[in-house]
Subunit: 396 residues, 4 copies
């Protein structure tokens, strides 16, 4: 069906057992990644061992301080030199969004495996280039869409895949936060389009889009969105009033390639919601609901109960039979946000060793980017916009 | 601001105390209305007394049987004669949608007060005519959007009105049912556009639109929708396969005149949801959530709690301080679906007696119709459509 | 097994179709009963028809006013005369607790069917006499333990009966209210032992005990309780400080005859709980939970789900397959407190007509009384106390 | 008020900064402790640094393997030698219950600070000896009642302490699990009294007792309990049928020294409940509810809301203002079971450095033991039993 260029085959990583990791960036996401690097081999029996080698930052002194704090052996301000090292096998990109493309391309050129924070890139074009480069490089790449590996979310995917809901027809996804509800929240890079690209849309809808694709396997066909900014001016910490040119809230309608439909809404101005990342899925014979604020639970409805005793079940996903749970604590001892990064890394290492595919890869990151871009354009142009399908880049 | 034609003034009804009621139609809705007619004076101390005089139906014998069952004195198959009676003061229109206009217009022409089932009419033009006729007639009219008078919904409106949420910015409304999830559900008049107008849209979104206007006071400015039919063919009870030409699900985005935004979704194919009529409202300083499946509760969030003890409160609306609750049972003894009709009727009788306004009136019904129509058109034409404002008909 | 005296056989009531009812008492409970009397034949197709004949009260004028308000034909202050009437077939006892025994005994002596408010009597001895009189009279008797016929509670019973939970092992029952949490709530007859017998114990634990027996079929073997009064002095409406000599809260442990165990707690001092009547049942293979504050739902857990998708299901009991629901409104349109009285009356009328047993009857009321008494004694004597079994009165 | 023997003063630990830790035991609890040892200085800025020096086990080879896995420098099978080392400052007792006393006494004799798993000891006498020894030694001791430092539980304590609930009157505590619901679960040391002391009682009620004392500050005065074993015989993994001589479920009533009352229930036979550790507290002016299965939330009720908008608030305890939360991730990113150990350790290190008290200490562990013992005796003797007060050991 496609005329893809031949790609170098991926050879499973059997030696060395110890995989040196260079982490570029060391802010909030760096802390979460570093925790995963330290924890993964303590809780998962894996054929490969993570070696947290070097933290890379613009300022060597700060990088060094963070390296010690986060458990890395070294620090560096010179990415090129780090990429040239033989004892660095994986590059973990944990920098702000606008440098993902450049760093990942350099790492791929150096033949490194790459794990990249989401969003993959600032534009579809950048993301396409990264996908192509990753394929040429014959390495494993991944995007840190960590919520996929929340045990309850993984279970949701498993339930859909084994047909418990029937054909998926409807998705309802919301990501609600409230830190911009108050007009007193100061302006920052996150409220300035030039530096962040968009507001709630790129930050939060990106998660909803990835989770939809993961849990349901649906692909977006076309979207139609709207955005709004409720507080058009905010004050910087040093007292200047500046215009807010990104969305506070962004909602869109979606049609999927199989005829299913969906509604999406991301907002930072929903008082009382902190991290309300919720996905509802309705199939022909069942439904499910997952919410990050109660991340260890998934609600499931199926018609195959006695007719008088049907209802949404609240499944606590902390038994050994649930995804990832057996690696941690006994039944019902819940996990938290950071564990999702450990699970992502564990699966990435297994994929490296076994030669099995890893998802989400850069093509998945690109797919998210395409939906985001189409939705943003639809909001500007006030009509529906088609989303490029995943097949496109495969055809290049 | 408007150049409205002068309308006849409404004179409060002081005599007779007993208000004769003719109910046209006696199916499901007729049962609910009749119950309200029988109960309202038993639980509310009102200056006017309902007298359930006559049930009007196409078939006199069936009407007579229902009259006895429902507590009416008489039955008739001749609406004109009933409308000519001096002892009938209120006409209650409980027929299928396609006859609302004709019956209400006749009743208004006869000078009767009219309570009409929702939707008010089949088209905006019909609804406009009904609004105009009601104004000319100098009577009180109402639409049975009964959910407004669920105590918890009334409380929600009260909380918004007294400013507990600040300026309303976002609305998220869903009405989820599942009786068409199965392809085995037979075809009926409800799946045939010629007879019902639309599917989930007209039936369920009508409620969401009315509740939004009631609880928040917002007016719709423009909408953009999409619809889908998952089961394109169904079998009639007598075994014929027929095409389904109404929507199973209909979602739309909305912008309000004050800059607020909203998302709406109605579906009859959401496994496990029976009567999931939910409204979420986010204001600048608070939020609320109401759901018909737990109709006696409203959830409220406000920032003015101690910073470490904020959260959504679940308010059980069954104390004497809550709307309507004092007329029924002690604290915490919950009410059900049918009570909302009793409350609607009680308020209508008070409005008759006091000369105070009653809402929702026909103009409210028209406003709902306009949003429905604009959304339906936007779905066909695949772009945003403006909604006529309420001011329009006032200006005629 | 027993040496019971022969009892007169009960002859099914086939004529007259119209069953005249005399209701003694017309306060809160009278309102709920009267509503049931008016509604039952409107929503249930029954072989017998309720005729609300006469309200009996101490004050004839007040009784007459209430008769009109509540839908009765007549009023009377003379019980004896009423009991002598041939057109009164059922006596409904809706008076305060201390007169149940006297009125019911008189009604039974007159050969009337009797429905009595709970608690059946003030003492076990009174209750035993009533049981014996009812058996001699050859009539149908019932106690208004209305919560049994909340659809979700009836479903709970049905699920246990058909074995969905396996053998019942544990019960956890709480009835939490908060109207005495404040020391400002005035003293009343409900805080004075001489007039009410006990506090939360007799009022609320009575419900928990009856519901346990109904849902699980268990019989109490022995109990051990404790009580506490947090506000020892309250002020009467006319300003006198009086001692509170009834319990604010009463908890007890229970052992059942089959080896199951239970915990019970009733309180009127639980801030934020209004009518938190909750029953949890654990069997060998499943669990359920019901709560009056969300009275239309029951939660059910069963092991026979896929191992990774087990959880408590929230069953909305408003489908036609659920108990009583088909008589009211479509799927998911919820019922309220008052409907439980209608259901009780409908089943009582069916039992009259069919000659089938009706429960709860006076023996059930006696069984509740025995548990209450044993628990009260155990609290005084600070050790476990055996509960008389149901077989006892049968042996007399 | 007391005539306590003088105790050696505790000198704050300023040097060395690095605190060597020997962990005795390396099973489930060892994994959780070791995780805390590794993580605490990465997420908390503390004046002292944990140095995980040595794992002590009966089998040196197994201890060595675990040392590597858990991040310790060394392993040993010789406790005495380890206790003699100068570079070991803290002894962490993570062994089965029957060796806590012996190991802790040896560590105290060697002048080490001690952290001990719960329960502190097998008997009250043992626990009393440990309390006395700790006081003589002039060191800091702690018990790993880790749930106290779940952020939401810590918040609950804070709310009670600052008076948000008024005087505490009622406690309702349940710990429900289901791993013994099935008769197929094999016999183990946990079902054999000789090896584990008791069943659900010692294991689960211990938590309920400690959490009550922590959150409310109440002290138990007297208790009355009952226990039951539903499956009297189980089969060992090697096929022998053995008698189960510990409780499956244990419930007790409690009276506190201030007049408050409580109900307690622990069970391992509640189908569908995995780790349902729930505490409800009612005060004179408010209530709260916490549950480990949703460990990041606490529900709070207060009367000081508008009368028509009161209700239980669900507080997500993941904002920087909440206990411990600022050390981890942004708003609303939830924590899990293991974090409670990290928090316990962080506070212990602070107490070492600052010379401030640490709770729960051995006296708290003893207090729990006294309540457990009294309840067990009351169940055997079938009447109320007094609980020794905490003042007792202080007076010795």
């Amino acid at each position: 069906m496609t005329h893809a260029k031949p790609e170098p085959p991926f050879r499973p990583v059997r030696e060395p057992k110890g995989m040196g990791v260079a982490m570029v960036g060391h802010a909030f996401m760096g802390r979460a990644h570093a925790n995963a690097l330290r924890q993964v081999n303590r809780f998962f029996d894996l054929p490969l061992q993570v070696l947290p080698r070097v933290v890379v930052g613009r300022d060597r002194a700060r990088a060094a301080a963070m390296a010690e704090k986060l458990g890395f052996a070294e620090a560096s301000a010179d990415l090129a030199t780090v990429l040239a090292r033989d004892d660095v096998h994986i590059v973990d990109v944990a920098t702000p969004n606008d440098s993902h493309h450049e760093i990942a391309m350099a790492a791929l050129a150096a033949g490194k495996h790459v794990l990249c924070e989401k969003p993959l890139a600032m534009t579809v074009a950048e993301a396409e280039a990264m996908v192509a480069a990753a394929r040429r490089a014959g390495v494993r790449v991944g995007v840190w869409h960590n919520y996929r590996r929340c045990p309850a979310a993984s279970l949701a995917q498993r339930l859909v895949e084994r047909g418990e809901l029937g054909v998926v027809r409807q998705v309802r996804a919301t990501y609600l936060q409230d830190w911009l509800a108050s007009a007193d929240t100061p302006a920052s890079w996150r409220t300035e389009r030039r530096r962040c690209g968009s507001g709630a849309h790129g930050d939060l809808n990106a998660h909803l889009i990835d989770m939809t694709r993961f849990v349901t396997g649906l692909e977006f066909a076309e979207v139609c969105g709207m955005e709004q900014t409720f507080t058009p001016t905010r004050t910087t910490p040093d007292g200047r009033a500046v215009r807010v040119d990104v969305d506070d809230a962004f909602a869109f309608l979606a049609r999927f390639t199989n005829g299913a439909i969906g509604t999406y809404e991301a907002t930072r101005t929903a008082p009382g919601r902190k991290n309300w990342h919720q996905l509802e899925v309705h199939g022909a014979t069942g439904s499910l609901l997952w919410n990050l604020e109660r991340m260890n639970e998934v609600q499931v409805f199926r018609y195959d109960e006695p007719a008088d005793a049907r209802g949404y079940r609240t499944v606590m996903c902390m038994d050994p039979v649930h995804p990832y749970a057996a690696h941690w604590w006994p039944d019902g001892h819940v996990l938290g946000y950071e564990h999702t990064f450990v699970h992502t890394l564990a699966d990435f290492l297994l994929a490296l060793h076994d030669g099995s595919p890893f998802a989400p890869d850069f093509a998945d990151g690109l797919a998210v980017q395409r939906v985001l871009d189409a939705a943003a354009r639809s909001a500007r142009e006030r009509h529906w916009v088609e989303v490029g399908t995943r097949g496109k880049e495969a055809a290049r």
